[in-house]
């Protein structure tokens, strides 16, 4: 399908596709098996100028937006959803600075992220605060020109590997969600440590760790926006980044579909390739249609974001919800196409299914997405 | 589409072209395409892109409707062809020892010289290498042109080029053959330019056109997908390089004798701008691949680097060398020096055992002239079976160790 991409977007997509094919595909299984962080791929991404596709030109980026972010994430995910998320999680950690950072903060952090010198991460989730972001327990206490952070963030993608973290902490407990603020914290700051690396079902090339703050003192200048804006920072960031998760899901689904189609043309049973059986053809047709529908929705939302639409909460949630459900279904079906081979680790398809699952969970579970969508629907009805 | 170059003539006869696309499919250089044309019989007309066309004539033969006409223009010979007589072989030596590819070239050179009714000579350049001349005679040379100098001990492009250019100018051979080694390929290319004559690389067959008394040089192109026979009609000498192991070594006949022609040249011709400051030999622990009589090769089907252990074990028992397909090398299971095929080494062992190798054309290009080919592969459709003398459809991890065991018994190892 032709999505009327710009010349630059096509260039971005083709380059990401080349990296995925030539550099990621050969190492995807190994990183998955050994749970190693793909630094060599991050280096390739940096050398290819892909790390800053969504960052403004004056900060060393390419000047693209959500669409470029989606294209890169999708293409990388087609080869490995785990490696793709190392890139996409940096975008998630960077968006708060792009959206709410002042010029000084942008000058300080964005060029190194755009050039790929540094990775970023975003830290909201805690043991007691998942979907209920208002329940976060990490605190930031103001002391003169500084804030002092205490608390533990959980399951932070790129945790330990990233240099730059945007962290949501409570500056005023009394105010609940309105008492949260967002901070930029650099790796190496005294009082900032990491917990153990988590063992995961999928996206195993990516690193997921706890962030531990123990009387961690940071300058006042590291506050993003104003005190009390933390929750808004998080929500606006998610609005922009959810198409990225949707794109990851689309890529994973497409990758699994590619393998299924290829296999169906090679595998022979009853003297014929299995692709000649109509039962299997119908499966492939459904899978392809679903992937395309998910892609169309994802790109539409990315375009909305890029054209400056004010409120994209509902559409963002729809894209993330739909694409991640498609990814789960298509990857499961892809295994079915491969039969017993699909279930074996010698073949790459089972990994796609394991990688797909997280897209239904993180950056807001699909149940939360449905809440968001329903809430917006009802609001619209009220407004008439 | 570019215009037709003025001096060569190949053209599509519009009235005859039926738009059948046979020529498009046949053209090895992708130089023909179909365009819509009102003039053509069936609305489609073949057109030739003259930037790609080499006038090989493949399309002329393929066209069933006589719609392609080609006449290769006559170029007047650049030299007096009749002055050139004799077949020469460059006797490449390393550390004073003539390389075995030279004896292979002498074997073929003798045939060519006999077919032309002329003499066979070897060109030997080095430092104190005269003793090597005797074996060159035993292997069929009638003459050895010998140039000795302390500065010529090791091969250097410039002095070696200068010497051979001078020898050719003085003695005028009609054919000059080199081994397609790293030395031979560098040297021959340079000489061809200096003498303004043709050079055909990596020939797999050399014959004499009986009528015209010229050399027919056949070589693979496009990774062995096609073969081309190449002529050098109007320039002399006709030069070719031949890979090691393509031709059989000439037999030793110790009764043969010959004449040594010694030449020396002034220092300016022996000077080299490049200087060898160090020579490092990397001795491989196993048998040299191109010399091996038995090769056991592994490919993608091994599945992992460790798979080469079973390959090595069989090779060891058989006293053979270990080879590999390009995909096994690309996966970094084994170093490039083991690669067999178009971009690796050409081998011609007595027995070639391909384990888990599908047999892509570029691999076949490097091993299909082996005497016996044994293919072991899970996939009964693998192209390797189409060249195999013995095919085994099965798991190499069962078959190869069993073979190793069997030959341990047979060879009492």
């Amino acid at each position: 399908m032709d999505y009327l991409l710009t010349e630059q977007q096509i260039m971005v997509r083709d380059l990401a596709r080349k990296i995925a094919k030539e550099k990621i595909t050969p190492v995807a299984a190994e990183h998955d098996e050994k749970e190693t962080f793909p630094w060599e791929i991050m280096k390739v991404m940096a050398e290819s100028d892909l790390c800053g596709v969504y960052i403004e030109e004056k900060y060393g980026g390419l000047g693209g937006g959500a669409m470029e972010l989606c294209l890169v994430t999708e293409e990388l995910s087609r080869a490995c959803g785990g490696i793709a998320i190392c890139f996409a999680a940096t975008a998630l950690g960077t968006y708060p600075i792009i959206l709410f950072g002042n010029d000084e903060q942008k000058q300080k952090y964005l060029p190194d992220i755009a050039s790929g010198k540094k990775l970023a991460a975003f830290a909201l989730t805690e043991a007691g605060a998942g979907s209920d972001a208002g329940a976060i327990a990490t605190t930031a206490r103001k002391e003169g020109d500084h804030y002092v952070l205490n608390g533990v963030k959980q399951w932070i993608t790129n945790g330990g590997e990233a240099e730059v973290y945007t962290v949501i902490a409570m500056t005023d407990r009394e105010k609940g969600a309105r008492g949260a603020s967002a901070f930029i914290i650099e790796k190496g700051t005294p009082g900032f440590d990491f917990g153990k690396k988590e063992k995961k079902l999928g996206i195993r090339a990516s690193a997921t760790r706890e962030l531990v703050f123990n009387e961690c003192k940071i300058p006042k200048a590291n506050l993003l926006g104003r005190e009390g804006m933390g929750f808004i920072v998080a929500m606006k960031t998610f609005d922009k980044s959810r198409p990225g998760v949707a794109a990851q899901a689309v890529g994973i689904a497409q990758g699994a579909l590619d393998h299924a189609v290829k296999y169906s043309r090679e595998r022979k049973q009853f003297g014929k390739t299995i692709s000649s059986f109509q039962g299997l053809q119908f499966m492939l047709a459904d899978m392809a249609t679903e992937v395309e529908a998910a892609r169309a929705l994802t790109y539409s939302v990315a375009k909305m974001v890029d054209t400056g639409a004010k409120d994209v909460s509902k559409e963002s949630a729809m894209a993330k919800l739909f694409a991640s459900d498609v990814a789960m279904k298509v990857t499961t079906d892809a295994i079915q196409v491969l039969g017993g081979y699909g279930y074996m680790r010698d073949y790459p398809v089972e990994k796609y299914m394991r990688d797909a699952k997280i897209t239904q969970i993180y950056e807001g579970t699909n149940q939360i997405q449905r809440n968001v969508i329903a809430l917006e629907l009802l609001k619209e009805q009220l407004r008439g | 589409m570019t215009d037709k170059p003025k001096d060569c003539s190949i053209q599509i006869i519009t009235g005859n072209c039926t738009g059948c696309t046979m020529c498009v499919k046949t053209c090895p250089f992708g130089a023909i395409s179909m365009v819509d044309s009102a003039e053509a019989k069936k609305g489609k007309l073949a057109v030739i892109d003259y930037m790609k066309c080499t006038l090989c004539g493949a399309c002329v033969e393929s066209c069933k409707f006589k719609a392609i006409e080609m006449t290769v223009c006559k170029v007047a010979p650049k030299v007096a062809l009749g002055d050139y007589k004799g077949v020469w072989v460059f006797a490449e030596q390393k550390k004073g020892k003539v390389q075995s590819v030279v004896y292979e070239l002498l074997g073929k050179g003798r045939e060519l010289a006999d077919a032309l009714g002329t003499e066979l000579a070897a060109v030997l350049i080095g430092d104190a290498v005269e003793a090597q001349a005797e074996e060159l005679f035993w292997r069929g040379a009638d003459k050895v042109y010998l140039v000795e100098n302390a500065g010529l001990k090791s091969y250097q492009d410039e002095p070696y080029t200068n010497i051979i250019v001078e020898l050719v100018k003085e003695f005028k051979p009609e054919i000059l053959l080199y081994g397609a080694t790293s030395i031979g390929r560098s040297l021959a290319s340079r000489i061809a330019v200096k003498l303004y004559t043709g050079l055909t690389a990596d020939c797999t067959a050399l014959d004499i056109d009986k009528e015209k008394k010229i050399l027919l040089q056949t070589r693979p192109a496009f990774g062995g997908n096609i073969m081309a026979t190449i002529l050098c009609e109007n320039y002399r000498p006709q030069m070719a390089t031949v890979r090691h192991k393509v031709f059989k070594e000439a037999q030793v006949d110790k009764s043969r004798k010959g004449q040594v022609v010694k030449k020396s040249y002034p220092d300016n011709l022996l000077a080299s701008r490049t200087r060898i400051s160090d020579v490092v030999e990397e001795i491989s622990s196993t048998v040299n691949l191109t010399e091996a009589d038995i090769i056991v090769s592994g490919g993608r089907g091994l599945g992992k680097a460790e798979g080469f252990k079973v390959i090595e074990e069989l090779a060891k028992v058989l006293g053979g060398a270990v080879g590999a397909s390009r995909s096994a090398v690309d996966a970094e299971w084994i170093p490039y020096s083991h690669q067999v095929g178009q971009t690796g080494k050409t081998v011609c062992p007595k027995i070639y055992i391909a384990c888990g190798i599908s047999g892509q054309i570029q691999h076949l290009a490097g091993m299909s002239s082996s005497e016996i080919i044994i293919a072991i592969n899970k996939d009964s459709q693998a192209p390797i079976f189409s060249v195999a003398t013995y095919g085994i459809v099965g798991d190499l991890y069962e078959v190869v160790p069993a073979l190793t065991q069997k030959f341990k018994e047979i060879l009492k190892k």
């Binding site: - | 499919k25 290319s189 496009f222 073969m227 026979t229 190449i230 200087r275 020579v279 080919i373």
Partner: protein
């Protein structure tokens, strides 16, 4: 320092298949790529440029071929090459390695002062390995073929490791010189986005026969000493027997068939 990299656009021979019915090449879907060995040449030029300083070093890529070959030049620019030159003229048609070497050498002379010319060791469509040394001979400069490492390079002087059948030689050479490089020398980088954008905006300088100081009799088909007389598909080696049965039986059958050869080999 001025570095010139000579590259060629070739069909990806890996993609080429023979149609078993007509015994002809199947070209459908065969992509044009930069000759893989030339990718190492481009990468080495860029590495030398990085080593010597980007400001003082210029990398020019040069190709002879039809106008589509500009795509190959663009790829080099997207990796970081500074300029591209396309030699395209119907007078160059039908060139063999001699005429190609001559034409490229004349193009290089036209470009002005140069210090280093880098070529891939050979092109995968012809596999001749002749054009690199041919250019060096035409320009009468030293050559170092099969280079696997640039040890040292400075104004007027360089040191390379040249791969041989037994190992390698270290060769010192004055500049200007020409080298041909092998796969071992480096791992080519992927293009960068900024490079791709630059490549999109740049245009190749096109040189034709009229722009060169050449002897027209030495160009193209006329200037080529060799001519292709005929092209044919290699005789197919026909498959032999497929051994059937259980593994021990197969192994016994095979061992019986080849045992004499193995024993005779092990005795020599």
């Amino acid at each position: 320092m001025n570095i010139i990299v000579c590259i060629k656009q070739v069909p990806d021979t890996q993609d080429i298949r023979i149609n078993p019915e007509t015994n002809t090449l199947m070209r459908e879907g065969v992509q044009s790529i930069v000759n893989p060995f030339d990718m190492y040449a481009i990468e080495e030029a860029l590495r030398i440029k990085e080593r010597l300083g980007a400001a003082s070093t210029k990398v020019t890529v040069l190709s002879m071929g039809p106008s589509q070959a500009e795509e190959a030049l663009r790829e080099a620019v997207s990796m970081g090459a500074d300029e591209m030159v396309l030699m395209s003229d119907r007078a160059f048609a039908g060139s063999d390695t001699w005429a190609t070497s001559y034409t490229l050498a004349k193009g290089i002379q036209k470009l002005g002062k140069f210090d280093l010319i880098i070529c891939g060791k050979q092109a995968i469509d012809g596999d001749t390995a002749q054009v690199g040394p041919g250019i060096a001979a035409t320009l009468d400069i030293p050559q170092v073929t099969y280079v696997k490492k640039t040890e040292d390079i400075k104004e007027g002087l360089a040191k390379f490791e040249r791969m041989t059948e037994e190992g390698y030689e270290v060769i010192e050479t004055p500049l200007p010189c020409l080298i041909t490089v092998v796969k071992e020398i480096n791992i080519p980088r992927l293009p960068s986005l900024k490079g791709k954008i630059k490549a999109k905006q740049s245009k190749a300088t096109v040189l034709g026969a009229k722009d060169l100081e050449v002897d027209p009799d030495r160009l193209g088909l006329q200037g080529s000493p060799t001519a292709v007389k005929k092209i044919f598909t290699p005789p197919k080696r026909t498959g032999g027997q497929v051994l059937q049965g259980e593994v021990p039986d197969i192994v016994n059958k095979l061992a019986d068939s080849i045992k004499d050869v193995v024993i005779s080999v092990s005795k020599t």
